[in-house]
């Protein structure tokens, strides 16, 4: 990344006091950067601290150690510049769709008059294809529609960065696909900087420019950073026909199924720099991962895994 990173995490850690008196380390010495206009996906199993990383970026949580910067300034708390799309959509159930979005719009621009707020809401409701449902309350909407409202609410404040915490994990596969495509389209149009957390391999391949692979917690770390070598104008219909698709997908699945558990053993006798985790580009005639796997295999076999 030649650009000056938009956000930067420098050696952050999250620790909790353990019930027995010790300390539980979810992750430590974690370094991560995200450039302007980049779509970064963090993928890993539950418990590796993905959500904590997102909360640190959102300013909702402070890391136990280390620093988080946005545009060179340390994150002091939540900001309207960084909108969060919550996994549980987090709509206020006593407000209608348009009121939920207007609540966010008025937070950002308190001096706007009603007509301007209404027009701004209308535009963003149309953007997520919810025109006609403005007066409905969240309880009357399907899961997919609720998350559309969540997306509209986040986009309506025109943030510099979108933070998405497994936004589609509660949806059925069909709805998820449609929404992913819409998010892809919106982000491509606006060149939005996005940081997303997921455990869905296909979602990461479809949406992300870079995929950060995290090992299992406790003591999770960034195992690798994968460059998505598929062209940016991806879509669900022919993405799987691209020659790089399966190398990427296989690499991710291999990681999630096996290597995320055994990565510590894989590291034995090999230099690992948490500031610069290995960058992999599956499909671009590279062999380092295969070699590494071969190197790791004996140790795996030895341990009977």
């Amino acid at each position: 990344m030649s650009e000056q990173p938009f956000v930067k995490l420098e050696g952050i850690a999250k620790r909790y006091p353990a019930p027995g008196g010790g300390v539980n380390t979810v992750f430590e010495n974690l370094w991560l950067a995200c450039a302007q206009g980049e779509f970064v996906c963090v993928i890993g199993h539950s418990g590796c601290g993905k959500t904590t990383i997102l909360n640190v970026l959102a300013g909702l949580e402070r890391p136990s150690e280390g620093y988080a910067f946005v545009q060179g300034r340390e994150i002091a708390g939540p900001s309207l510049d960084r909108a969060v799309i919550f996994q549980s959509h987090a709509l206020l159930p006593w407000l209608t769709v348009v009121e939920n979005i207007a609540f966010a719009v008025r937070s950002k621009w308190p001096d706007w008059d009603n007509a301007r707020v209404r027009e701004h809401c209308r535009k963003h409701i149309a953007l997520v294809n919810l025109t006609g449902a403005e007066r409905k309350r969240p309880a009357e909407l399907s899961g997919g529609m609720k998350q559309r409202v969540g997306i509209a609410r986040a986009l309506a404040i025109e943030p510099k960065m979108l933070l998405m915490d497994e936004p589609f994990s509660a949806l059925d596969a069909l709805t998820r696909g449609v929404l992913q495509e819409e998010v892809l389209k919106i982000c491509a149009e606006t060149r939005q900087t996005v940081f997303m957390i997921t455990h869905d391999v296909d979602e990461a391949i479809l949406l992300a420019d870079r995929i950060v692979l995290m090992t299992n917690g406790p003591g999770a770390r960034v195992a690798e950073v994968m460059l998505n070598t598929l062209p940016r104008d991806r879509n669900r219909h022919d993405i799987h026909r691209h020659p790089h698709y399966y190398p990427i997908r296989n690499h991710l699945l291999d990681f999630l199924i096996d290597r995320s558990k055994s990565f510590e053993r894989e590291l034995e006798g090999r230099a690992y720099d948490p500031q610069n985790p290995p960058l992999v580009m599956p499909g671009i005639g590279e062999a380092p991962t295969a070699q590494r796997r071969a190197a790791a295999a004996p140790s795996l076999a030895r341990n009977g895994t």
Binding site: G59, L60, L80, F86, S88, W94, F103, S107, P138, I157
Partner: protein, 280 residues
């Protein structure tokens, strides 16, 4: 199955009522022709005593007649100790509403503060725990001594008994506002006052309303006892006065009226609670 028919439960209710009234009627029938004293004495002591009836317990027909007379003329005033049941109820309702409103004015903001701040919660918790179980009537002598006005003392007793359920429920409602809603407010940089009114208050409103409903129920229970003590006016005083008059018919009419008013108060707050409840 009774529940399959919409009129089933109503029919059963009527049946229960009929059985109850029937049993009551049968139990209070005067025993005819069983005059146990001579005519002179019977004339002297009155019919019921002369026929050996055990008590002055009226039958359902007597009570119905009494109720009808109250319904026809609820607001008469014939001297300090003879006022219509409607006037007495109005006094009681007035006291309950004033005491309850004052309690709400104190309990809801204070409960909000307790719910928002763990420090305030821990600081006030011992006081609340000790004062909450005190019977409101135990405050009565203290109120009479300090306020020196029986009417205001009754209102104070209503205040003190209404305050706790509202305080505890408001604090609980505010404390249990979902973290994700608060996080939405935080990421939108919503200012504290706007957060309190636009996020916390609507989220806690159903729980607060539950507290208010409990409070008004307790206040209505307590007002009868309080008015028996302070006297002068009110439905509680009416009951006590009719006990001194040995008018069981009037007492039974008052019991029915107290029940009906209590039901109405509860229904009113239930309706308000429905208005602030949101489906999820």
């Amino acid at each position: 199955m009774l529940s399959a028919k919409p009129w089933g439960p109503a029919l059963l209710s009527l049946l229960i009522l009929a059985v109850f009234l029937g049993a009551w009627h049968a139990a209070t029938l005067p025993e005819k022709g069983a005059q146990v004293v001579d005519d002179e004495y019977a004339k002297l002591v009155g019919k019921s005593a002369a026929t050996g009836q055990k008590s002055a317990m009226p039958g359902p027909a007597d009570v119905a007649k009494k109720i009808w007379s109250h319904v026809n003329d609820p607001f008469y005033v014939r001297g300090t100790n003879d006022k219509g049941i409607g006037i007495q109820l109005a006094y009681s309702i007035g006291r309950v509403l004033v005491g309850f409103a004052l309690a709400a004015l104190v309990a809801i903001p204070l409960g909000f503060l307790i719910g928002m701040s763990p420090t305030v919660y821990r600081a006030l918790d011992p006081f609340i725990q000790v004062l909450k179980p005190v019977s409101p009537l135990a405050w009565m002598p203290l109120a009479l001594f300090t306020i020196k006005d029986s009417g205001l003392s009754a209102i104070f007793v209503i205040f003190i008994c209404s305050v706790w359920p509202m305080l505890v429920n408001t604090a609980f409602g505010v404390m249990s506002v979902r973290k994700e809603w608060l996080n939405v407010a935080r990421t939108l940089e919503v200012r504290p006052l706007r957060k309190a009114f636009r996020v916390v208050l609507p989220a806690a409103a159903p729980t607060i309303m539950t507290g208010m409903r409990i409070s008004v129920g307790i206040a209505w229970l307590v007002i009868v006892a309080a008015e028996m003590l302070v006297g002068g006016t009110g439905i509680g005083y009416f009951v006590w006065n009719e006990w001194n008059n040995l008018s069981i018919s009037n007492i039974l009419s008052a019991i029915l009226a107290i029940g009906l008013v209590g039901m109405l108060l509860d229904a009113l707050l239930a309706r308000l609670a429905r208005a602030v409840t949101f489906p999820e």
